[in-house]
Symmetry: D2
């Protein structure tokens, strides 16, 4: 109700501010007797961790996750899993200015409007730091998916557009994604982006981007009609990531310009199973998975912290200007890639358990 939890059966609630002593989460609904170690989660956290290249914020956080409950002798027990990461590099001195001035594009003004009080040290609860716990919880969700679905569920994210620069989809290589600091699946584009983003960074500016997340080997039948459609839950999941302004499923926005003939994903029997001839649906029909790849894209706005002064107002209602010093990412979209993967995992794990409840799987 206060908005800090996600999921129904596989349920995560997160807590913590960017500049408090720690952040954490509680993951409920994890089936018992699954192997789980801190290293399983650390793997994903390390991918998300800032400070890995000049293109992400230089905040240095080891982001060591600890499992505080719900695991006994290396196996889940069915009890809630408490996770925690200490905040070690807080530098709250950097943020003195924003106690009084609302940063455009940040949640400073709206938090004050809502709560009448605001932890101004670095965004408090609105900080992207909260997403570290999503990635950790997403790691548990992957364990659940891989345990319950034969051959496991693959979830991979990639950056497909940086600023106005799109990738060439004919050059898509999943292997390339790990080889560049942008999670870009097109090696050629990745090279171009390097110079492009360096310019942005040097100017103290920022740029948006588009991220695509693909889940493969998802069983047909996950989701629900009406409100908790699988794609509706994915839309919420992705839009809940900081700075996201649009979410697309399958053909997405381009579906608006298609005719019914063009858009129809025709079906054929292949090797005794149903095979779709295209995937405009993005793997979801009527809110329920088709068995094809689930394909979601989301647009991330440019980082709001920039070095060019912007006009704004103070808490006291005076016109002023602000220039956001301190560490920041020139393209926060980059760091949204592992977060998008995690949200995909959270949604799928929850719907998998829901399907098990209602239809027995």
């Amino acid at each position: 109700m206060a908005g800090n939890s996600f999921g129904h059966i596989f349920r995560t609630v997160t807590w913590g501010e960017s500049h408090g002593p720690a952040i954490g989460c509680v993951v409920e609904g994890v089936p018992p007797r699954l192997s789980l170690a801190e290293a399983d989660l650390q793997h994903w956290l390390d991918r998300r961790r800032p400070g890995q290249s000049r293109f992400t914020t230089q905040r240095q956080e080891p982001d060591q996750v600890r499992i505080l409950s719900g695991v006994f002798e290396g196996q889940t027990t069915g009890a809630p899993i408490g996770l925690q990461i200490d905040n070690v590099d807080q530098r709250s001195r950097d943020y003195g200015d924003i106690a009084e001035k609302y940063r455009p594009g940040h949640a400073d003004y709206t938090y004050d409007a809502k709560y009448g009080i605001r932890d101004h040290r670095g965004g408090g609860r609105a900080s992207a730091r909260e997403t570290a716990m999503r990635v950790a919880a997403g790691g548990i969700a992957r364990v659940v998916l891989n345990a319950l679905v034969e051959d496991g569920v693959g979830i991979r994210g990639a950056m497909v557009q940086m600023g106005p620069q799109q990738i060439d989809r004919s050059r898509w290589e999943w292997d390339a994604v790990e080889d560049n600091p942008f999670w870009c699946p097109d090696r050629q584009a990745a090279q171009a982006w390097e110079g492009y983003l360096n310019d942005i960074r040097k100017r103290g500016s920022s740029i948006g981007g588009v991220v695509e997340v693909v889940a493969s080997n998802v069983p047909a039948g996950l989701g629900a009609p009406a409100y908790d459609k699988l794609d509706a839950d994915l839309a919420k999941a992705m839009m809940s990531i900081n700075a996201v302004k649009a979410v697309e499923i399958g053909a997405g926005l381009t579906a608006a310009a298609l005719t019914g003939e063009e858009n129809a994903d025709e079906m054929r029997m292949v090797d005794g199973g149903v095979s779709f001839q295209s995937n405009n649906a993005g793997g979801v029909l009527g809110g329920i998975s088709t068995g094809q790849d689930i394909v979601v894209r989301f647009a991330v706005k440019p980082t709001s912290s920039i070095l060019t002064p912007r006009r704004t107002v103070t808490r006291r209602g005076e016109d002023t200007e602000i220039k956001t010093r301190g560490r920041h990412d020139p393209c926060v979209g980059i760091r949204a890639v592992p977060v998008g993967e995690a949200m995909m995992a959270l949604v799928l794990a929850d719907h998998l358990l829901r399907q098990r409840a209602q239809c027995g799987l």
Copy 2:
């Protein structure tokens, strides 16, 4: 959990299939002592009702809503409001073919995959008929918003793109929306669309579209951080509408190509209040409303029922073809306009009550 309810405090659960005896919903959480009559809801249902022009399905449903509980002597009592609409024009004979064949783009295959059983008479629960109850519940949500927010909350929808044809935003007139069968705010575009869609219709084809919904006079402070961000809930709400494939807030997808300087909505004090100089945010920052217009757009795919035969398979796993006879809309996006408005109302009413719970409003 089974996906038929929406909202937390202002909560709607719908039931009913397109070809059963009736559809209905229960609306919980409505504050007491608000004036409410069936006519207040009928007004919105009449806008949504099919059969009003040659551009929407010829199914003739009077869609008379009845209030069965929760209202006493013209006032809400705080008890759950039961709403019901009888299905009077079901013609289930039209749908015989689809008992065996999966219609591409429809939920036939996925319902079978999920439930192992399917009410094949016209889509059952996946039918757009379910959205009639959203519109009715949305009417109650509007009553709540108007009662609790000074000067009321305005919620208006418009179609801003049909197939590849976009409107010219400089010609936007809200008054125009009611004057054409497309809810198009650009009179010139509306005229062009008439011929365009007529062609589509005559060919038995269909086309997608883009709908924009705008809420004005929404108080700053509605929403929540982390997962239940106002825009995340809006994304889910809109993506849960049949055939929607993309949702945008404010600048939406175009935000990806902006720099931080371009994207920043600067603030000034005007007449003692905070005034934003632009609205790329679409009225939401950090998941919380800014007090500006809330601007949401969503893309609707083309109707999947078309007269050109498409390749598909049968329930028994045989290759076949299907040509979807029967009534259908050449552009379902048109009918999604009042539904989008209703979903906006449902989300805002819920968050308004949540804000009242947590912050006392």
Copy 3:
């Protein structure tokens, strides 16, 4: 949130007032492909129906339930099941006096305190009429339990105390329960109660009672630790029935006076399975079912509508007296028996599906 729903996965929401046009409910989470007909539910409603003897209210309601959705060709589809019963014998003229005067023991005063408005025709939402929908939904829950648990789950209720008169447990016969108007398992007690209650009735007085509900063949492992303990959910379920003032599990209140040695339910292996030597636990340990009978008892206060005038106040704050005319039950505990059975079924069905979700059953 507004309190009209029960359960998490197997979820029921009810609506309707005693003097509106109808009452109804929506049951979500029912697994697909279970046989379900209106007659399955009518069977239980007929047991609950008032007007069957001089010991229950003479309100004559056929209570014909209709299934409006979620069932196709005799089988559940997984879609929400809408149920409805028309109110045919409302006689709202009987209730004129209570529009102004608060009836002691009824919810008149508290509804006004909460909502500032009250449907005074017969208790509105607080009327025991609402429990008809619990019984109908409970019928669906029984179908689910019997389909998913081998050999089915037996749920039976009995009245074990009327006023100060207790049964002799050594004379307990389940068969006797159906043979007297009190659902009394002790034939001798039933005979004594007849005269006793007739006296109460003639005086226009009323008396309380105690109901016991027993579920047999419940699998071990249902429930949850901490807050959603099986017995905690049962306590809520039973206390939510109108006029209930106490709930006991197993040894209940008498457990307070036992020593640890006396209270321990020892275990032995019998025929390869665990066998408990006693059932002070009432079939629940640590909030989770043991496989023994689940035994719940609840106390029902005497009907508040009596013919002896009682002192009270008016809405306007004047001292007055009230004598509640109209139909009433001298012992509402009688009619609570089928309702208690239904609540047991709702709790067990929900926990069965929850167990299926978390542990795969």
Copy 4:
């Protein structure tokens, strides 16, 4: 869904096992700008802490609670409050025997039946240690109640029966409660209990008890009709406390033996307000508070850990005996007093915020 959370708007989720590194909870829905310090919570934890007399377990836990989030400069921010207590005295060596043998009366057997795995070090998640977090969260709930209700809400608990020995209610003094190790309001009874319980303790036996919790100055109008009745939620809350087997509201079980005339709480106008002449209702009518004291009682079974050997079975299905060594409480009811108070606070805080949401308070 997995059972570790309580409440809807004021919502607590707990995590942690008795022998893990720590236990904790997350409290959501706390209104912003309330003063809150660790000392406010420590006060209540110190009351609950074991090891304070020979009548409670000798486990020595300082139970120092830390607030890890949601409070900024001494004030709540509206963000989730993360609380944590390190486990410092775990002595898991004491529990070796129970890895194989099921302790009668404990949740060992049922956890294995449910999860197929069990953290056998001291009860794991089923340990009463979990209740420390309820007391801490209850401390926050009290802050909310006192901030939002004029003159604050008083919540006090007392032990009113130990084994078969009841107090004399005519000697009830709230001041006495703090003066004896049993929270007994009857000084004379407290003295008698001392010898009585000492005998029990020396024999290695245990005994049950009855606890009463009273909330005063609760506004009329809290609660909900149908399922989330205030008393239904209280019944669940109390029954969810370890070892509780019965819950009563107001006259409770004795209401079954009353006539309608005896049970009616008559009303008079006194000083311009409604005054009830008795409180058989326990402060709740139709599930909604009347403004009178809310009176709840619950029975606690005797501690299952006793020194007399009891017959049981092993995980492998062999008959055996068990004698539970290690620390234990001869009467766990004593420690349930502060927990019962905390649960009352949690229920009232949640319903207060729900009332604020629906009726604007």
